[in-house]
Amino acid sequence: MEMTRFEEILDFAIGRELAAVDFYTELLAIASFAAQKSVLTDFRAMEEGHATMLTNMKSRHTVFLSDTPAVDLGLARRLAAEEKPAAGMDFQDILVAAIGKEDRAGSLYAELASSSSDAEIKSAFGSLAAEETRHKRYFEELYETEVARDN
């Protein structure tokens, strides 16, 4: 893979993670109570961690991510897609937003992988897509255990 192309891919992915950091930062700005702020701060820290991980990969010129996607619990497809950040958002609202975000990121990487003819680029995007499925899976599990306990 050409170095410039590789760096572009990583810059693109890092940009998406930083956009997610901004998303949680915006939510934090309108959060009104401690429980919201705590969850949003945790989720933002996770996204910052992802950005750091990708930045490290960029400096080492290699994507070291498993390309095995996590099991899809299928929640993202059926949860109401709209994210409505509001001061009174509860844990369910925040998790739905997080699941939707990870799902969209994963879909985007998967599309980029499938539309690429360069095998290495395809592989890099494929690995990033798989990584997003793991992030989504984390939030889906939280949703299943903490929110939809009775369903």
Binding site: D42, R78, D90, A148, N151
Partner: protein, 591 residues
């Protein structure tokens, strides 16, 4: 004395040069009879370490001992019987009484060893040549020294029950309670499984002894809600009951109810401990549910001045607003609450922290605060159309029923969810004349509701639709709404995890209902806790130490808000634990 008396002892010398009879005999091949009572065998996996064998052994030949690699867990003490063949008389009573049927005897009776200590061993744990022997003594099929059959609880029949809000369960008579109490072997395996660690064998013994006031005293040592828990407790104790390993578990919950029902509220003070002298310390409890009031009771008993702040018009929390009165009649709940108030606990009804007063102001006017606000917020279905006016929240429906409001559910009702709120909402709707479908995303065996609630909901006429994934709610063009759902199949996607419902392509249904009651889960309302309160949170829960204390120092939390079980008895246990923690903090006796 005769001369023979002097000579006779020397006659034994003639035996001195013979081969000893007692050594020769065992090495002869002479097997025991097929049903002979020889050395013990124990199926250590089947055994629950209840110690009934130890209790019945008249020679004290059995000790329950810890064994390597076998830890205590629910329904299993982790101990196993060790036999002492210096004491055993081979009567086999231990085999006959064993509730799980794990003990048996081989027909082997020869065991030569020069070390006397070897004859104390733990069958099923220490390997022996006779392990797995087909021969030997077994308890005869169908023969039990213990009564495996529970005394049936008189109940309304389901046809009659569904036409009224009368209490379904009628309660034991004295004779029935005594007979049921007689089934308990006092093994105590149940105690560990009870979140409040109630002394179950002791209060069952009180039933046997006819000592109701003594029984009530034992109940209140760990649980100030015996009337409520005697009716609606999740009775984890019964799942752990050793008698249940070979028959019906003892009806522990009903026996608790029996005790509480027998003592009039006016006689409680006579039976129960008095308050300690006033300490001059003030404690605020937020939430008058079972957890908050449990904390209040034990704090008051320790001499603290306790005020409980309750947002609703009545105390009781989910016991009142989440459980219909056919399961827990309000007078029974009022009796429990009445005694707590009688002890001097002030309950400020209709006072919502956040709206009417702040947490900061409570902290400044009290020495400690206990947060026990539960999970009052119903989570949404979170499908398109879930804000349709005919989509109702299950907790709100139950609360409206408690307040005696007209529900207006209509003829056809769908209840979405498989927990206790869903079952209670379904049964309430049935009692209001509706036809009810319960739609659940997984299978019946996955439902988190109590098995008996599911059974009773079905018996009362609710139709259970399993593997139904909610997709959308649409307007029906009339009074009701269309519920769109997808049939699912259960797919095991990962080993070691539970199967996941996966939509079957094309298997989409659209049913019209007058009301759709959503009961998929509830969350906390922590909007009254601000960052400046300094209470760390994790995943919408206050972070607490083992005694319920938060990093804020003077603020403790517990109940459904923090624990995983989310049932009344766990909240009660949390409240008790926090009360002791608060008392230690206030009295300067911290661990």
């Amino acid at each position: 004395m005769d001369i023979k008396d002097y000579i006779a002892p020397f006659a034994v010398w003639k035996r001195a040069f013979e081969k000893p009879f007692t050594v020769k005999k065992p090495i002869d091949e002479r097997p025991g009879a097929p049903g002979y009572r020889g050395f013990h065998m124990n199926d250590a996996d089947k055994c629950v370490g209840c110690g009934t064998c130890e209790a019945i052994c008249m020679n004290k030949a059995i000790d329950l001992v810890p064994v390597d690699g076998r830890d205590a867990k629910e329904g299993d003490s982790g101990l196993r019987p060790r036999m002492d063949y210096g004491r055993c008389c081979w009567c086999a009573l231990c085999v006959d009484i064993c509730p799980s049927g794990s003990l048996s005897m081989s027909n082997e009776y020869v065991w030569v060893d020069s070390d006397p200590e070897a004859f104390r061993y733990t069958p099923g744990v220490e390997a022996k040549p006779w392990d797995g022997s087909e021969l030997g003594y077994r308890r005869a099929e169908g023969y039990r020294l213990l009564d495996g059959e529970r005394v049936k609880m008189p109940e309304l029949d389901h046809g009659e029950a569904v036409r009224s809000f009368l209490e379904l369960v009628k309660g034991y008579s004295r004779e029935q309670a005594m007979k049921e109490a007689d089934r308990c072997v006092s093994c105590g395996v149940c105690i560990a499984s009870c979140p409040a660690h109630m002394d179950i064998p002791a209060y069952i013994k009180a039933v046997r002894d006819g000592d109701m006031e003594g029984g009530l005293r034992i109940l209140y040592e760990t649980n100030p809600f015996p009337e409520a828990c005697g009716r609606v407790c999740t009775h984890l104790c019964e799942s752990a009951c050793s008698i249940g390993t070979g028959g019906d578990p003892v009806a522990i919950r009903w026996l608790k109810r029996y005790i509480a029902d027998q003592v009039e509220l006016s006689d409680y003070a006579k039976a129960l401990p008095r308050k300690e002298a006033p300490t001059g310390k003030k404690v605020a409890v937020i939430g008058a549910g079972p957890g908050g009031l449990s904390a209040a009771y034990y704090l008051a008993l320790l001499g603290h001045d306790v005020t409980v702040y309750e947002k609703d018009g009545e105390a009781g929390g989910m016991l009142r607003y989440g459980i219909p009165d056919y399961r827990l009649p309000y007078p029974a709940l009022d009796k429990d609450i009445g005694y707590i108030e009688g002890l001097g606990v002030q309950i400020e009804r209709g006072k919502a922290v956040g709206a009417d007063l702040s947490l900061a102001s409570l902290r400044s006017s009290h020495d400690a605060v206990y947060l026990s606000t539960g999970l009052p917020t119903a989570y949404a279905l979170e499908v398109p159309g879930d804000k349709h006016p005919r989509v109702l929240d299950g907790v709100a429906v139950l609360a409206a029923a408690t307040r005696g409001e007209k529900l207006g559910l209509g003829k056809r009702v769908a209840v979405i969810g498989g927990g206790n709120v869903a079952m209670d909402a379904a049964r309430t709707a049935l009692r209001h004349g509706s036809e009810v479908d319960i739609l659940y995303r997984r299978r019946e065996e996955d439902m988190p509701a109590d098995a008996e609630e599911i059974r009773e909901a079905k018996a009362e006429g609710a139709r259970l639709v399993e593997k139904a994934i909610p997709i959308e709610v649409k307007d029906s063009g009339g009074d009701g709404a269309l519920f769109v759902w997808n049939e699912a199949r259960m797919v095991l996607k990962e080993e070691g995890k539970r199967p996941v419902p996966e939509a079957i392509p094309g298997a989409v249904h659209e049913d019209r209902y007058d009301s759709i009651i959503s009961a998929i889960g509830q969350g906390p309302d922590l909007s009254f806790v601000t960052e400046t309160d300094g209470i760390p949170m994790k995943r919408f829960k206050p972070v607490i130490a083992a005694d319920g204390r938060t990093d804020a120092g003077d603020v403790f939390a517990g109940g459904d808000l923090t624990n995983e079980r989310k049932d009344a008895i766990s909240a009660i246990a949390d409240g008790h634990r926090a009360a002791l923690g608060i008392d230690r903090m206030l009295s300067g006796k911290e661990l």
